[in-house]
């Protein structure tokens, strides 16, 4: 089973402490070593983003900056795991890391299963 972890937090905030970055690097290495993380990435701030929107039959591209959002997606990682529990367990460790090394940080990791093509196959059994 494949899971996508979306890390959400309030729009930043001060840069992360060095201890946090070190611990993150270590956790990333461990995730690689465990053979479960298949992709990951951090996202640039909303200010540098663009939005392409379809609304009332019109496609519009809008460049930032945008009004502040309460929470933004700051990064993601994709894991191949046995179960949702394993995904939750991994996400908890990731949050623990924030608690330990980045005082004051608040946010969440959203755990979403990535569906395989079979989920969209109209012939597939329900």
């Amino acid at each position: 089973m494949r899971f996508m972890m979306l890390v959400k937090h309030g729009e930043i905030q001060a840069p992360p402490p060095k201890e946090f970055l070190d611990a993150m690097t270590k956790l990333g290495e461990e995730a690689e070593k465990s053979g479960t993380m298949v992709a990951s990435g951090g996202l640039s701030p909303i200010a540098k983003s663009a939005r392409v929107r379809l609304s009332r039959g019109q496609v519009n591209a809008v460049d930032g900056p945008f009004a502040e959002s309460k929470e933004v997606v700051g990064g993601f990682a994709i894991f191949d795991l046995k179960s949702k529990e394993e995904a939750i367990e991994g996400a908890k460790r990731f949050m623990e890391l924030h608690r330990k090394y980045w005082p004051g940080w608040e946010g969440e990791t959203e755990v979403r299963q990535v569906l395989g093509p079979e989920a969209f196959d109209p012939r597939a059994k329900a």
Binding site: E32, G35, D80, E85, E86, R93, E96, G116, P117, K125
Partner: protein, 423 residues
């Protein structure tokens, strides 16, 4: 949290942590069987305590600490026994020995090296292949005996026995907990790769049973392969095996139809291939090549798989290159199965008559006597050549040889199609 939720969380924690715990403990107690029992004791303690106390903040560390305490208890108990046997005059020396070794450091230093040692000991040549597979899944994959039994269509006591016997053999033979060096490393590594690929293949095309694939086994093997690639990053064949498995696994969703029937490579919907796994596979293959290992047996097989992965449509497949790779593979490790695969590629590159010519040289091959893919491939060539009666016989023969029910149905369908064509 309900009791079921807690148990499922414990399962997940166990899967994440067990290999590291067992590896670390084995270094201390020098016996993989005892290490595993200690780790199991810690798991049992978690199963007893967590439903009451709740899941600890750091469940991995909790399990590690519990296992460590048990290791220390065991160590003290053994020391006390030794002391009782020791003479009084040696009391002082014995007292010094009573100081507990630094378990903390032993468990935290180089856990990676311990894991690698655990891989090598689980796949040690003193064990039968079956035992290596079971022990690897158990110690490194974190699977329960029951899960292994289910995966290999064996009973739980059979697998439990197999694991007990394997651990005893390792103890009796005093197999050291170490990473082999020099010339030995090459042969030992190839035993490890063989075990992982065997697990993968059992999942990829189940030799028996009602399912054509058991994807969980593929995932276990892939995970083991990726772990090994991180532990032994300079070994080209390790990356090659990972590349091969990533690319083959990328087709998993396309390999079965809506009711679980097999879909052959050229009939698959390539939009259902997992591009993330393909990319990972191609990167692993590049790493193999960068390490100078492009001509190894797994590297060649991975290169063949990559030819298919790169083709957006079946007709874009570079068959002449695949033929060349099979020729090279056949020279490196001559095998009638490689020849059979080469025949398929030759038929695609130069027509079914050319393929049939090769297959006909394999008919008398004793090792292929009851291999269902020989008549299956031959039947396919004959069918394409319009020799439907002969093709039907071959498909029927192939159907009688396979132990996989899904595959049997497919072959019987093809036999039926010959019958219609012949009319």
């Amino acid at each position: 949290m309900t009791a079921t939720d807690i148990n499922r969380t414990i399962d997940a924690v166990w899967r994440i942590e067990s290999a590291r715990i067992i590896a670390g403990l084995t270094r201390i107690v020098r016996d993989v069987g005892i290490a595993e029992e200690l780790a199991q004791d810690a798991l049992v303690a978690a199963l007893e305590q967590w439903p009451q106390s709740g899941i600890p903040d750091n469940p991995g560390a909790w399990l590690m600490a519990a296992a460590k305490n048990r290791a220390i208890d065991l160590w003290r108990r053994n020391k006390r026994l030794e002391l009782k046997h020791a003479e009084l005059g040696r009391d002082l020396q014995a007292k010094q020995e009573m100081a507990v070794p630094d378990f903390e450091a032993a468990l935290d230093d180089n856990i990676g090296d311990d894991l690698l040692r655990l891989v090598f000991i689980s796949c040690h040549p003193v064990l039968t292949t079956e035992a290596r597979v079971a022990l690897t899944l158990r110690l490194l994959g974190g699977l329960t005996t029951d899960e292994i039994a289910h995966a290999f269509l064996a009973t739980e006591p059979t697998i439990a026995q197999r694991i007990v016997r394997a651990k005893r053999t390792l103890a009796d033979e005093r197999v050291p907990f170490e990473v082999p060096q020099g010339a030995e490393l090459v042969s030992r590594l190839s035993s490890v790769l063989e075990v992982i690929y065997l697990i993968f293949n059992e999942g990829y095309s189940a030799t028996a049973g009602d399912d054509w694939m058991r994807p969980a086994l593929c995932e276990d093997a892939l995970r083991l392969g990726r772990i090994l690639a991180e532990l032994a990053p300079k070994e080209p064949e390790v990356h090659a095996l990972v590349a091969l498995m990533e690319i083959q696994a990328s087709r998993a969703a396309a390999r079965t139809g809506p009711s679980g029937e097999p879909v052959l490579l050229l009939d698959q919907n390539r939009a259902h291939w997992d591009q993330l796994l393909i990319r990972r596979g191609l990167v692993a293959l590049e790493r193999t090549e960068a390490l100078g290992g492009a001509r190894g047996p797994y590297a060649l097989q991975a290169a063949i798989a990559a030819c298919h992965a790169r083709a957006r449509a079946p007709q874009e497949t570079d068959w002449p290159r695949i033929v060349g790779l099979y020729e090279e593979l056949g020279r490196l490790m001559p095998s009638p199965i490689v020849d059979l695969n080469r025949a398929v590629a030759v038929a695609m590159a130069s027509g079914p008559a050319a393929g049939l010519e090769i297959v006909d040289t394999l008919i008398s091959e004793p090792s292929l006597k009851s291999y269902h893919l020989l008549p299956s491939v031959r039947g396919d060539f004959l069918f394409k050549l319009g020799r439907f009666d002969e093709a039907r016989c071959e498909f029927e023969r192939a159907a009688s040889l396979t132990r996989n029910t899904r595959e049997r149905d497919l072959l019987l369908d093809r036999a039926k199609a010959c019958h219609h064509e012949a009319l």
